[in-house]
């Protein structure tokens, strides 16, 4: 009896302990592993008390490294040589952002399933099949050929691994504990993978399949009319009228007309207005100080931890300040004592799909240049947590990988990728992008800047520049394929050699402008140039409104200061409303309106065209415009499969202003012929109805900041780990392009001069640990529309009241 009792008690205890130790499902962590105070999440609670002086002995350092942390825990690193500098960058970045670096490289390389199981399989398959790892391998080989980059990347890797090796289980970032896995050794290829992830975000989509469907349905005349190669309204990045002054390479000949016979249906790509960026610079002639001022705000997904990590890097031959991407060495957007630089996305067409005809279902041969050619195959093994691994064989043609060679290979979630089509993607090419940033960090003048840019491949960026010797410049930069006009606007015939990319636009002939007479330069993802540029970059770019507003403001600016730049970064004025609202209002038949409709009409008539957080007019206008746009195009383009490209905003504006009798306004379902006037009146009434239905009578609930959703979530969407929703102004087409979960991820203004002064802010904090007081300490300042003066030390001994702690690293 006693023995039985004892046995039962022991058994129950063991089962209890095991039950607490085991991970029961992919979504719930092991209870005791996560909760116990010895190694669980409680250990991630960082103390608010900062240790003023710390010394660490780290293997592999060649000299002494001094790191000064300021009040936002931004590290200011002073090293005695380059190896130690990047070693320290790797070390401190890992200390703050290890999980982010881990999960992003896993995502890029198609290895999420190892951690989260089956549910990430299709994401992983896609990343393997589009050739992310293949591209990263090519880039790594090329970049390691440069001895400077090799030292940098290896030292950065060494620093990260030194940090990882000294971790105890209790020190692991909280997300590792939640998902119950361990950090793994960092590898140099991870640095390349992160750049591929950028290419995927900024240059990893194409409208060619949806455009091909439009061409098939409507024919060339309508397609050319609704999808023109240049917008009606534009204010190009390189000032219109710029003389090119170079000898143009012979342009490739257009191939014979081809309409792809896509066997499998395709879905159009979802595009988000507002993923893009602004940058601009004013010359000394326009600034109060007489020196240039440069500004940049990249619009990306807003997450905790932030995509950016602020850092100062100093060693003999380099002293630079700005933001870095965790997992990649160097400063990506920033300044030094002589120059400042920033980037926005170009939207060059650098991903094309080619229809491939295979000989048979072995996919060993494909038809090209009038003969059968051999494919190569690459095997990708995807390990899945709790399941047997999946092996993928990816077929490669000379164009690139065939993402899904047959319909059964393509999952529902990737309906935007054409079947039996090869991807020719710039991200697969050998590249040395990182060398560009290595050189920019050290650049002293315009020539250094141009030299640095010549090494850059993708994703193509509008690189803005200002120097202490008063030069300003903008270069539309990247490795841009030499194409015939509209090459890649539709899916290409993969058997015709004339469709191959025929070479490259020479780097020195990339669109560029230096010290233009007007005294300023800017970019906001709109068309790179006017129509005189001899080469083809793409047929469509981002909408022109943000660029137009920036240029309108800059052209009238005199005695500009840092604050003028800051105010412009937060500008909510809508050029779209300025362009269309008078016409829209002019068409409203006021005699037929109800009292409530009259009231709403009055509200929008009195609106100042600003998408401010408390603006009711903005809500009315936005709802009306979205309905107007939808009513015109949904009838013809909203197919069951969602496979047709919609005409652009610009084309819709042209229809409204110039073609009010257009057949596109007519509803074929009614006997009469509707015109623009009918559509405007109908959609205005519908707007009032829907707003009253959703928000009641016009009042606080109608305010734009409450109607639009603005939020910052944790990278893995964990409740409580993000900032949640908040009220804010701005929209995708205003300079302050803040909407939903994306917007200005870093705002920077740099005043050049004998002594450079930078200002900046990002929504979040330096720490990636939700248990740190530096996880979101900069959010408030960012939300309030303020910038922080950036601390830029000239030596490790320079005194500053902002320095809160010092970390000294040495090997002994």
């Amino acid at each position: 009896m006693k023995v039985t009792k004892a046995l039962i008690a022991v058994l129950v205890t063991i089962i209890l302990i095991l039950g607490l130790e085991i991970k029961w499902s992919d979504t719930i962590p092991s209870i005791a592993v996560f909760l116990n105070p010895a190694t669980g999440f409680w250990q991630n609670a960082d103390s608010k008390h900062i240790i003023k002086e710390r010394k660490l002995h780290l293997k592999g350092l060649q000299g002494k490294v001094t790191i000064k942390y300021d009040e936002n825990m931004v590290p200011h690193i002073f090293a005695e040589n380059e190896h130690d500098l990047y070693y320290a960058q790797g070390y401190v970045t890992a200390a703050e952002r290890l999980w982010q670096m881990d999960i992003q490289t896993r995502s890029a390389s198609g290895r999420l399933s190892e951690i989260v199981g089956q549910k990430a399989l299709e994401v992983d398959r896609y990343h393997r099949r589009i050739g992310m790892v293949y591209g990263a391998e090519n880039s790594l080989n090329e970049m390691m050929k440069d001895p400077r980059v090799a030292v940098m990347v290896n030292a950065y890797t060494e620093g990260i691994n030194t940090y990882i090796h000294q971790l105890w289980k209790r020190d692991y970032p909280i997300e590792f504990k939640l998902l119950d896995y361990e950090p793994e050794e960092w590898k140099p290829i991870n640095c390349a993978l992160l750049l591929k992830l950028m290419s995927e975000t900024l240059a990893g989509g194409t409208d060619a399949p949806a455009m091909t469907n439009v061409l098939k349905k409507f024919g060339p005349a309508i397609t050319n009319d609704l999808f023109p190669d240049y917008p009606m309204r534009e204010d190009p990045i390189i000032p219109a009228g710029t003389k090119w002054g170079f000898k143009t390479l012979p342009l490739p000949k257009a191939s014979s007309d081809f309409i792809s016979s896509m066997i499998e249906p395709i879905r159009r790509r979802e595009k988000i207005e507002g993923i893009g960026s602004n940058n601009w610079v004013v010359a000394g002639s326009k600034s109060a100080s007489g020196y240039p001022i440069l500004a940049n705000d990249p619009h990306l997904n807003l997450t905790f931890p932030s995509i950016w990590y602020q850092i100062q890097l100093s060693a003999p031959g380099i002293n630079t300040n700005g933001v870095s991407i965790p997992g990649t060495p160097c400063v990506i957007i920033g300044y030094n004592n002589n120059i400042s630089w920033g980037e926005t996305n170009v939207a060059a067409d650098v991903l094309d799909f080619y229809n491939i005809k295979f000989k048979d279902s072995s996919y060993n041969q494909y038809w090209y240049n009038n003969k059968w050619n051999k494919t190569t195959k690459r095997t990708e093994v995807i390990n899945i947590h709790g399941r047997a691994p999946v092996t993928e064989t990816v077929v490669y043609t000379h164009h690139g990988p065939v993402v899904y060679e047959s319909a059964d290979k393509r999952p529902k979630s990737r309906g935007d990728i054409p079947v039996s089509a090869a991807a020719r993607w710039i991200a697969h090419d050998r590249s040395q992008d990182i060398l560009t940033f290595y050189l920019l960090n050290r650049a002293k003048n315009y020539d250094d800047y141009r030299k640095a840019l010549s090494y850059y491949t993708a994703p193509a960026q509008n690189f803005i520049f200002a120097s202490a010797d008063k030069d300003i410049a903008m270069t539309v930069n990247g490795k841009l394929p030499l194409k015939f006009k509209d090459q890649g606007k539709y899916i290409l015939d993969g058997s015709d050699p004339a469709n191959d990319w025929q070479g490259w636009i020479p780097a020195e002939q990339n669109p560029s402008s230096k010290n233009p007479e007007r005294g300023y330069l800017s970019s906001a993802n709109q068309s790179s140039t006017d129509q005189t540029y001899p080469y083809y970059i793409n047929w469509s770019f981002g909408p022109y409104e943000r660029g137009k507003r920036i240029n309108d403001r800059l052209s009238t600016m005199k005695n500009a200061t840092v604050d003028s730049m800051r105010v412009l970064q937060f500008d909510n004025y809508s050029i779209r409303a300025q362009d269309v609202l008078p016409t829209m209002l002019g068409n409203i038949n006021t005699t037929k309106l109800t009292g409530q409709q009259q009231q709403v009409l009055q509200l929008i008539k009195n609106w100042d065209k600003r998408f401010d957080a408390n603006s009711i007019g903005a809500t009315i206008f936005n709802t009306w415009w979205v309905r107007f746009y939808g009513m015109i195009w949904n009838r013809h383009f909203d197919s069951k499969n969602g496979d047709l490209m919609y005409p652009s905003q610009d084309r819709t504006v042209k229809l409204l202003l110039k073609e009010p009798q257009s057949k596109w306004f007519d509803d074929p379902g009614t006997p009469g012929v509707e015109t623009c006037l009918d559509v405007l009146n109908q959609t205005f009434n519908a707007t009032v109805d829907s707003l009253v239905h959703k928000y009641g009578k016009p009042g606080t609930a109608w305010e734009w900041g409450r109607v639009k959703h603005t939020y910052i979530n944790h990278l893995a969407n964990l409740d409580g780990f993000g900032a949640g929703e908040f009220i804010a102004g701005g929209t995708g087409s205003t300079v302050n392009a803040l909407i939903n979960g994306h917007g200005p991820s870093w705002r920077m203004v740099v005043q050049m001069g004998p002594k450079v002064q930078g200002y900046g802010i990002f929504p979040g904090g330096e720490s990636g640990n939700p248990g740190s007081l530096y996880y979101d300490d900069m959010l408030k300042t960012w939300q309030n529309g303020q910038l922080k003066p950036l601390l830029f030390l000239q030596s490790p001994t320079e005194p500053s009241t902002r320095i809160k702690s010092t970390l000294t690293l040495s090997s002994n």
Binding site: K5, T13, I17, P37, A38, N44, D46, K48, G720
Partner: protein, 111 residues
């Protein structure tokens, strides 16, 4: 007595060993010093409960409970204190059951 032994040993062990070391400590301590099953259970429960409260608070107080509050939201709990009680209850239960097992095993071998 048993309570004090488990309390001190698991507090020291808490800084260096995995969480289930508390179970071994409670079991072994009760094996030697345990008398009655009920008393052993509550000694183990109380000691480990208190140790886990102390260990968690040592980290959470200087943190102003920022992390514990976030994790409470993640698990849809009303606040960090509930999370703390939940954590400690688990520790207490493991400690109590281990101590109970210890004293029952001892009794099984007693003539």
């Amino acid at each position: 007595m048993l309570f004090i032994i488990i309390l001190i040993l698991s507090l020291i062990a808490g800084f260096i060993t995995p969480w289930w070391a508390a179970a071994i400590i409670a079991f072994v301590a009760a094996l030697y010093a345990g008398k009655k099953p009920v008393q052993a259970f509550w000694s183990g429960f109380g000691a480990v409960f208190i140790v886990w409260v102390v260990l968690a608070l040592l980290k959470s107080v200087p943190n102003d409970h920022v992390l514990a509050s976030r994790v409470a939201v993640l698990f849809h709990l009303p606040g960090w204190s509930i999370l703390l009680i939940l954590t400690s209850l688990i520790g207490g239960l493991v400690g109590g059951m281990s101590a109970l097992s210890g004293v029952l095993v001892r009794k099984a071998f007693e003539k």
